[in-house]
Symmetry: C3
Subunit: 350 residues, 3 copies
């Protein structure tokens, strides 16, 4: 076990540029949620919504909003952005993350034409001809970096990731274990009852600050590039098909699928297990609910739900209509009886 780091409330407040209310000597060793915190933990109140839960928490120290004047049983540190502040504290107190030392591990298989100055190449990694790996980038155990790949600085490529030839990665890109970047796209021509492979000779470009989840697959383009915009975050087990174009700062939650040549604007958010069909384009800031499938284009700001996807408001109306249907059927039944009654005198007239 790594040595336990401990911090007192006083120095913690100082380091956070916060205002301490209460005992400056109270010591904590780790961050925990309000529910799980024990007396040796620091927890946090992201907004006033959480004040009541904080009052019943057993945390030893709380990080709270600057305008929070509540009294707690434990020392409280007022800061301008508690959510950001607690992330800092997490980093200070965390056990170390497995890293790779700068240099080339003797068990790595590295082509002499690869350039890796200042990079960290782990055990059993493979780096092929003409690849470039930037300074301080960590290539973990078992990773494959194909020929002519260009990987920027300060990236972390986790164990057993495969990055095929001619992929370009920006700076500070993180790729989690067992992800596959640059495999062939799924393209065939159907001729005489057989599927003939369309060559997938394009590449993948991943811009700065992108994070890619474990076991996610991003296919190379048929021609040109599949592009992931700067700052976009992709969760585990996602499928990004050939020639997809993703804008900047999108959030794609787990198991989403983007069909071939699908195009996303900036700040698109997709919920888990949702999908976008081949060649479909959605604009900036589009929100796609979990399990939704988007089968046609939608403009900036659309909020989508359903299979196939429709506007959120329309989906809600449809759902409400279906929910109230038994009531309308009851009214119809009643009305049939009333018309039966109305017809009877008429008939007796006949």
């Amino acid at each position: 076990m790594a040595d336990v780091i401990s911090m007192a409330a006083g120095p913690l407040a100082e380091r956070l540029n916060g205002r301490l209310v209460g005992d400056a000597s109270r010591k904590i060793t780790h961050v925990a949620t309000l529910e799980n915190a024990t007396v040796d933990a620091v927890s946090w109140v992201g907004s006033k919504t959480f004040v009541e839960r904080a009052k019943s928490s057993e945390a030893g120290v709380l990080v709270v909003p600057a305008d929070c004047d509540e009294t707690f049983d434990c020392p409280a540190i007022q800061v301008s952005d508690p959510d950001i502040a607690i992330c800092e504290v997490q980093r200070w107190l965390a056990d170390p993350v497995d890293g790779v030392p700068v240099g080339v591990d003797p068990t790595a298989v590295v082509d002499p034409t690869a350039k890796m100055e200042g990079a960290a190449i782990g055990p059993r990694a493979v780096v092929r001809a003409g690849a470039v790996v930037g300074a301080r980038t960590q290539i973990h155990a078992g990773v494959y970096v194909g020929s002519e790949c260009v990987i920027g600085e300060d990236c972390v490529i986790w164990c057993n990731v495969v990055v095929r030839e001619r992929t370009t990665l920006g700076n500070r890109v993180v790729i989690h274990p067992n992800a596959t970047i640059g495999a062939d796209g799924f393209g065939y021509l159907f001729r005489e009852g057989l599927h003939k492979k369309i060559p997938q000779t394009g590449a993948v470009v991943i811009e700065d600050d992108v994070e890619i989840g474990a076991n996610t697959a991003i296919d190379r383009a048929r021609t040109g590039v599949t592009r992931i915009g700067a700052g976009t975050k992709i969760d585990n087990l996602c499928q990004i098909a050939h020639n997809v174009q993703i804008g900047a700062d999108c959030m794609l939650v787990s198991q989403i699928a983007l069909g071939g040549s699908a195009t996303l604007g900036h700040h698109v958010v997709m919920g888990g297990q949702s999908g976008i069909s081949d060649h479909v384009q959605v604009g900036n800031g589009v929100l796609v609910a979990a399990k939704t499938t988007v089968m046609k284009n939608f403009p900036d700001g659309a909020q989508l739900r359903g299979i196939p996807a429709v506007d959120n408001a329309r989906f809600s109306r449809q759902q409400a209509t279906v929910r109230r249907l038994p009531m309308w059927i009851d009214r119809l039944k009643a009305l049939i009886k009333r018309v039966d009654a109305l017809e009877k005198p008429n008939r007796s007239d006949g």
Copy 2:
């Protein structure tokens, strides 16, 4: 090819503690289903439902329920639980499964501080500082075991699995190839148009007798642990997000997704491609149908279906209502005509 093992009906019955009806010398070499069985195969009748199919089977020997007095063309062995018995026979007759010999393969990369007494570490595996691997546990080729991991006894970690730092595994845990345990959770704070990473400094705890499918991803907690309860079975390509808490003896079928901090009770069953949203809690014995998405809490014993999930009975009623809708619309049309007719004389009266 491994030598073919063959057993005669007599010794087979004896070893199964069963009662043989028919020729004790009939020899079989393998287990097969009723449909696929040939004369050199033993097949089984799980319950009386399968008696008719068994009669047309070409199996050389049948394992049948103790109370099954049917006459078959081949020898039959009566046992108390044929489903369990045939599993035993499968194990006796199976070709060997690839194993790893106890000791450390010379191509493995093992930190001198790791403890692996009586464990089996395969080719190209990596075991980092302070990791502990229990007796008779098999670490197959290409596996990564991060620093300070604690892995119990009699586990099987299949090829190219990645287990990141500080993961804890109980005894008899099986993890299938290319699974990823302990990657960072998908957590960001949105500030000034950018997604800032929330540190994922927690861990993963996997209890005894858990089995985890190929290419499945289980993320480490933000703080605290992501926990998989004892005896739970998780299929291929599943997503278990950070801080998920799964009870004991659950069955999670392929491609399910659990959002961050989702909580499942014991004996929960989830069908393929279903999902549970972030922070949602479901109780013990909950059944989630295939493709369902659970978006709010449900108590013990709930049976759920739909997107979003509702109670099974309510879902069926809604489906039935929609199915009968054309009939009600026809009745409405007819009623409109009847009212038209009723209004006419009135109008002519006017």
Copy 3:
């Protein structure tokens, strides 16, 4: 960077057996879509539908249908099948794909009883006892080939793929990175509150010309084999459960799931994120729309949509009915008022 290959329109037309209209000396270096093409690119017009888009393309050369008499600003090459022809051109102009040289890499771990004449075994690959790898087959870095596997000729097994023991692959099979072939099926017996593992002692057979996507999982059979028919193409992140039987020339798009013992005919097409339940059988030429879940058997030629899947036509009718529902409810409301009005005089009569 690899040297740029360049071809002039004249030799290109000749090599394609096409008829050149325009300047034979125009040189191109790569293939691009009509939208992305620059003057140094060749693009193509798959059918007359694309003629208008071709006219505004900046491509240096166009490959067009033989019966296309349109005049373009650039040289055009008329061929009988432009889609097929442009694939040829892509192959001629493409940068090289990472390959493995014939022979066994010194860092590979190969059992002396494995037979690999004329095969190419890459760095850190593992090939176990009794395995057979055919001529010209490429086993890329980090691949695991289990005992007694039989792999045909001209296959490409990409990095970090795991092929467990006794799997059979035909000729020209391609498996993309991080796929898992032959892991245990997900089968348990529920006894006394616990899930007891059913042995998964069968195998996987993959026939000629199959392609399998990155991070896809194909489980071995409980007994007998899981079979993938010749020419079938499976995309990334798909789940093929134990004992599944897939016919020839199917197209299974990303993230589909086939439950245990599901059976598919020939030429079945499944859209992304669709699924077929355990033991369900679908016939030849069945089309399953994206996100659909097939829960019962369907015959040849069925076109399916919905959860659970119904015939396409029926699905469309249901959708249309639901869409028009507000209109029918409005009519019902109006009718209620008319009946109210009809009843009033009657009442005043009373």
